[in-house]
């Protein structure tokens, strides 16, 4: 049986800064082993810890105990109940109370406070299912992505080589540890390369700047275009940062340039998805072409591009249209038209429009993505609805019961009719022209 180490770092190296406490690899592993002792061997662990330190220790503990981490898209009671029902023997580990959940919750706090030092580092079967990542669909139905330990181990080494953070860097992340981007960078990267991650999870720009200032140099910021735009727009003075990594949504070139000027950082944008992990990179301020990570192979097929890599459990069809420049570089031509990604959540426009049309009183309607304004506020969906006897508030209430808040269309406008062609089709061009006219009327 092939096994791979839990971490390739030595026991005395620094893996995390937790509040004021420097956490060495030895102490981190000891905490994970202490918590592993509280877990049923091999059990799927629903890891709901919010704090990055608690989440990371729990993640390691589940893996060391021979089990896996189930990472739901949210902490809602219904979501957790469904996981408990569908994974036999699943247990919940949480660092704060779970509203309404009736099952047993394992409290990691004692293990998290352990002052022990581990003397050795566990090896993990390469094929062990280490994590199952759930991405939310537009109507709450989740898709499920399995991550064997080999995948997480190998992609972490690959990411370190490709993202190339400065030796000894202190990493601050504005993203949560549960989602792939945060998991790869702020949980796993410090297990395999000479970087130390802060357990902080700052949100507002003043918090981000203060947390950065508290870190020694060289500093690395892991973030998203939404947070980065807020950083630049708020007019706050940015601390020196060596490297900024952005993912989850497209970063505009002008924003990347302003960030580089204001912070002195090199801004690297990362492309990937939950199924593949990080896949390609570019320095957005300077180049348009994406550089594919070694280890990945992309194949154009009739209905899209397929990504393959030895460390992935199987081939992955990408959600975007790609134009190849060379064998290992490409441009992104946009999402396949039906699929949208809002605030890190994936949705199908056809499915969302279906929910809209199901509302009693709605005669016709469409939910769509308005054209992007490069530096505008975060992207939202829009809706045009024909419903002579309803108010927008009625429609929003009805939608709110069935779709994720991130997909709530804004604006939602009532119109007399949609610009459908004779065939009944709604060509995007005429839809957008029509929408622009309603904007002028509304504005």
């Amino acid at each position: 049986m092939t096994t791979l180490p839990l971490t390739t770092r030595s026991l005395d190296e620094l893996v995390m800064l937790h509040g004021g406490e420097p956490v060495s690899v030895g102490r981190f592993v000891a905490r994970a082993e202490a918590l592993a002792g509280q877990l049923p061997p091999g059990a799927p662990v629903i890891n709901l810890c919010q704090d990055r330190h608690a989440f990371s220790v729990t993640f390691a503990a589940a893996v060391v105990a021979g089990g896996s981490n189930l990472l739901p898209a949210n902490r809602l009671k219904a979501t957790v109940d469904e996981l408990v029902d569908s994974f036999a023997g699943a247990v919940v580990v949480a660092d704060c109370p779970l509203e309404g959940f009736a099952g047993t919750v394992i409290d990691p706090s004692e293990a998290l406070d352990s002052r022990e030092q581990a003397q050795r580092i566990s090896r993990i079967p390469a094929d062990q299912r280490a994590a199952v990542v759930f991405t939310s669909g537009s109507t709450g139905r989740a898709s499920r992505i399995e991550k064997p330990w080999r995948t997480l181990h190998d992609s972490s080494l690959l990411n370190l080589a490709q993202l190339d953070p400065p030796q000894g860097a202190r990493v601050l992340a504005t993203v949560p540890p549960q989602h792939m981007w945060g998991l790869e960078t702020s949980v796993l990267m410090p297990w395999f390369g000479a970087v130390t991650v802060s357990s902080a999870h700052p949100f507002f720009v003043a918090d981000i700047c203060r947390q950065l200032e508290e870190l020694e140099q060289p500093r690395v910021l892991v973030s998203t275009p939404v947070h980065l735009r807020a950083l630049v727009e708020s007019g706050i003075e940015l601390p020196d940062v060596e490297r900024i990594y952005s993912a989850t949504a497209p970063l505009s070139r002008s924003l990347a340039r302003r960030l580089e000027r204001l912070s002195g950082a090199v801004v690297t944008e990362i492309y990937g998805c939950s199924e593949t992990g990080c896949l390609a990179r570019r320095q957005t301020a300077r180049v348009a072409d994406w550089q594919l990570f070694e280890a990945f192979e992309l194949t154009p097929e009739a209905d899209g591009t397929v990504a393959r890599a030895a460390h992935l459990p199987g081939p992955v069809r990408l959600m975007d249209h790609l134009e190849f420049r060379t064998r290992d570089s490409f441009r992104l031509l946009g999402r396949q038209s039906d699929l949208v990604n809002i605030a890190g959540k994936r949705g199908s426009l056809a499915e969302l429009t279906g929910v809209l049309l199901d509302i009693p009183g709605v005669l016709d309607g469409v939910i769509f993505q308005p054209p992007e304004d490069e530096d505008g506020p975060a992207r939202r969906l829009a809706a045009l609805v024909v419903a002579p006897n309803l108010e927008p508030a009625d429609i929003r209430r009805a939608l709110g019961r069935r779709i994720d808040a991130a997909f709530m269309p804004r604006p939602l406008r009532l119109v007399e009719k949609l610009p459908r062609a004779e065939t009944g089709k709604l060509p995007r061009r005429s839809l957008l022209q029509f929408f622009a006219r309603t904007c002028r009327q509304a504005g």
Binding site: F204, A206, V226, A230, E233, S234, P377, R380
Partner: protein, 91 residues
């Protein structure tokens, strides 16, 4: 407690509506004591971030979420306005 907006609260409500493109909500409709985020106004955490940027531009103050008191500031229009005004006085 009054559900009438004070002039300062009205000014902040106008900023909320304009900065978040809430075209089917008028500033007067934001009740000072009603939950601002995660409630029936349909505002989420990304809106909070957008609003913080708009507040920094209009009032010259930076919002934080690093302690309990600051997090409570986002509960409703009234508490947010009080928080913004107290930051302005400090600044």
């Amino acid at each position: 407690m009054s559900t009438q907006q004070s002039p300062q609260e009205h000014e902040l409500a106008e900023l909320i509506v304009s900065s978040l493109n809430l075209e089917d909500l008028s500033p007067e409709e934001i009740e000072p004591d009603k939950q601002l985020f995660g409630g029936e106004y349909g505002l989420d955490s990304i809106d909070a971030l957008e609003l913080a940027v708009a507040i920094s531009k209009q009032y010259g103050v930076q919002l934080k979420a690093d302690d309990e008191r600051n997090r409570h500031a986002f509960a409703n229009l009234r508490s947010l306005n009080e928080h913004v005004q107290s930051l302005r006085e400090q600044g």
